[in-house]
């Protein structure tokens, strides 16, 4: 059913920048410089395939990231080789996008082997070679480690920057507020990418946001910030690209809040960032069912070989 692009549903976030309408049309017709949309789309699809495969593996405490791919994939693609990423515990897609081979990814994420042969933690991935830090036990503590790492990059003047990923639930913690204060005060080369969920029927207490904007909080603390629609991969890309460019130029820390919708809540199709970008490509004549099949088949094949080989050895860890 075609819907008026201007009419928001309860699933569409307020005050979040979007450049793709529900049919994938670019509002101002201009793509962010340097963005290869098909390349980006392939990585988004790959991240979704990974999520689907992980759900099949029935990992303990695993929560699907379907619907949240845009900020994860955009961060991983926009991070330079020498930049570091401090992910949260549901962010395996970052490692996949950054080039972790499927075999290693499967070993780590299924809990067969941890980073560098260390202890395994199902669902989580890290790699010193790919500059992806280990996750933390304590809620939000990856932000504090990331701030310290960014501080080290500033002191070493090595040109690198640090990305820290979190969800909106972390933004109620003292750690989050201390990191924002620290980053602002010490002018750290840190990009915080926060995924906030849309709760059409009201957020539960543990979400930590009662309709307010994490980005506004960050702005009040003196950070450059953008609040974007995480269901719109182009807007998400543009915001993270602007943030990382500023931070790379040593113009202070930045926070991007991407408002996402988890697909497990069964939102309207246009809230799915992959579907929204597919519509965009389709409208440009750059998408075909065959293209989709080839992309999916390739990724699924790689994942399936890696995962099945391990799972035949005795199921998920």
């Amino acid at each position: 059913m075609k819907r008026d692009a201007m009419e928001p549903t309860p699933w569409d976030p307020e005050g979040a920048t979007a450049v793709l309408d529900v049919d994938g049309r670019l509002a101002d017709g201009a793509l962010p410089a340097g963005l290869d949309v098909r390349h980006y789309y392939k990585h988004l699809v790959a991240a979704r395939c990974l999520d689907v495969r992980l759900q099949r593996s029935a990992l303990p405490m695993y929560a699907s990231s379907a619907g949240e791919e845009a900020p994860l994939v955009a961060t991983a693609l926009l991070a330079a080789e020498h930049d570091w990423i401090y992910p949260g515990s549901r962010d395996a897609a970052v490692a996949f996008t950054r080039g972790m081979p499927p075999d290693e990814l499967a070993r780590q994420v299924l809990g067969r082997e941890g980073p560098s042969g260390g202890p395994a933690l199902p669902g989580r991935v890290a790699s010193a070679g790919l500059r992806i830090a280990t996750t933390t036990d304590a809620l939000g503590m990856q932000l504090a480690l990331a701030a310290g790492h960014a501080h080290g990059q500033k002191i070493n003047a090595d040109g690198g920057i640090t990305f820290a990923l979190c969800g909106e639930g972390v933004t109620t913690t003292g750690v989050f507020h201390e990191v924002v204060a620290l980053a602002a005060q010490c002018d750290l080369p840190l990009v915080i990418v926060c995924r906030s969920q849309v709760w059409p029927s009201g957020a539960p207490a543990e979400a930590g946001v009662l309709g307010d904007s994490v980005a506004e909080r960050a702005r009040a603390c003196g950070l450059w910030e953008r609040r974007v629609d995480g269901g719109d991969p182009i807007a998400t890309w543009a915001a993270i690209a602007s943030a990382s460019a500023r931070v790379r130029d040593r113009r202070g820390p930045a926070l991007v809040e991407a408002v996402v919708t988890q697909l497990v809540h069964d939102p309207p199709a246009h809230r799915d960032p992959i579907e929204r970008l597919r519509r965009h490509l389709d409208a440009q004549g750059a998408w075909t069912a065959t293209f989709q099949d080839v992309v999916e088949a390739e990724v699924r094949g790689k994942l399936e070989r890696a995962f099945a080989a391990l799972e035949r050895g005795g199921g998920a860890a």
């Binding site: 560098s116 260390g118 202890p119 310290g148 620290l182 005060q185």
Partner: protein, 320 residues
């Protein structure tokens, strides 16, 4: 010259020796709350590596860990061991880093933490928090027992040659304010995770750390009891070989320390001796501690064991 001044000089030297070192702490660029960064603050060459931060107690330890992961060697000056506790969730992550990455990534963070009574502030002074810190996986804990040891222990802790795991150097507040004579003792070296027999005798063995080392020596002097006094010094890891040998040598054991009596390192030592020296023991293991907290600021010195009680304990084990 008091120990604070000695350490302030030593910290500046450490900063000059290794340009990867950075100094963190409250007011660190203006000399610090205790003056431990006073010499650094006066040296313009070091200014870029004095990392002044806003008050971020919950994240401070993780922040230092992140700096270490970026290749720096942070020395963190905290007002007291309580601030290590405020950052414990982060410190736990930092201490687990080497384990998590099978040693590929390490976080060599040195935390210098005043502990125990001495400033009249109460608070953590009576709580003996070293026992809790010693339970954090991957964290090393050492405690200065005598004023002259402060500088060599600081240097040994800052070297990170035996391990790159993070380390808390506890310096009792009464030792920080103690005056020491003569020249700087930089020529002294200390092996970091080694217990020291600071006096050797045959009648009994007193195991002590922190302020209790000096009090044990006083008790031995006052009573004339010919006892060995061992400065345990390294609380995690314990120098088990030296400790067990010193226990077997006399078979009569007193453990003296500041802070509460129960659930602490003294109990760990007693268990160690029960395991590895039981056939040599000739008397019950007697613990002498401070009074149980909480203690008001005015009463904080009750957190120390007294010379009299150590003397009575010595009499008890030697006349058993």
């Amino acid at each position: 010259m008091n120990v604070i001044a000695v350490l302030a000089e030593a910290i500046a030297e450490l900063m000059r020796e290794d340009h990867q070192r950075v100094l963190l702490g409250e007011d660190v660029s203006t000399g610090g709350m205790l003056g431990l960064s006073r010499v650094c603050a006066d040296d313009p060459e070091l200014a870029a590596r004095l990392v002044a931060t806003p008050l971020v107690p919950a994240t401070a330890m993780a922040h230092a860990g992140g700096l270490a992961l970026a290749g720096l060697r942070p020395i963190v000056l905290v007002p007291g061991v309580l601030q290590v506790f405020e950052g414990l969730a982060g410190l736990r992550e930092v201490a687990a880093m080497a384990w998590r990455t099978a040693g590929e990534r390490t976080a060599p963070v040195l935390i210098v933490a005043p502990c125990g009574p001495g400033f009249g502030l109460g608070g953590d002074a009576g709580e003996g928090l070293e026992a809790v810190l010693s339970r954090v996986p991957g964290l090393r804990v050492v405690c200065v027992g005598r004023p002259h040891d402060a500088e060599p222990m600081l240097r040994a802790a800052a070297a990170f040659d035996v391990s790159e795991d993070p380390i808390v150097l506890l310096v009792p507040r009464t030792i920080l304010t103690a005056e020491i004579d003569g020249p700087s003792r930089a020529e002294l070296t200390r092996e970091l995770h080694v217990a020291h027999r600071v006096r050797v005798g045959a009648a009994a063995t007193v195991f002590a750390w922190g302020e209790a080392v000096g009090l044990a020596l006083e008790a031995v002097a006052e009573t004339g009891c010919d006892a060995t006094v061992v400065d345990v010094a390294s609380l995690q890891p314990l120098d088990r070989a030296t400790l067990v040998e010193a226990a077997r040598d006399t078979g009569k054991i007193v453990v003296a320390h500041a802070g509460p009596r129960h659930h602490g390192i003294a109990a760990e030592l007693a268990a160690l001796f029960a395991d590895d020296a039981i056939d040599w023991l000739d008397a019950p293991i007697v613990r002498v501690s401070g009074e149980d907290p909480p203690l008001s600021a005015a009463d904080e010195l009750r957190a120390l064991p007294t010379v009299e009680r150590i003397a009575r304990a010595l009499e008890r084990v030697t006349t058993w």
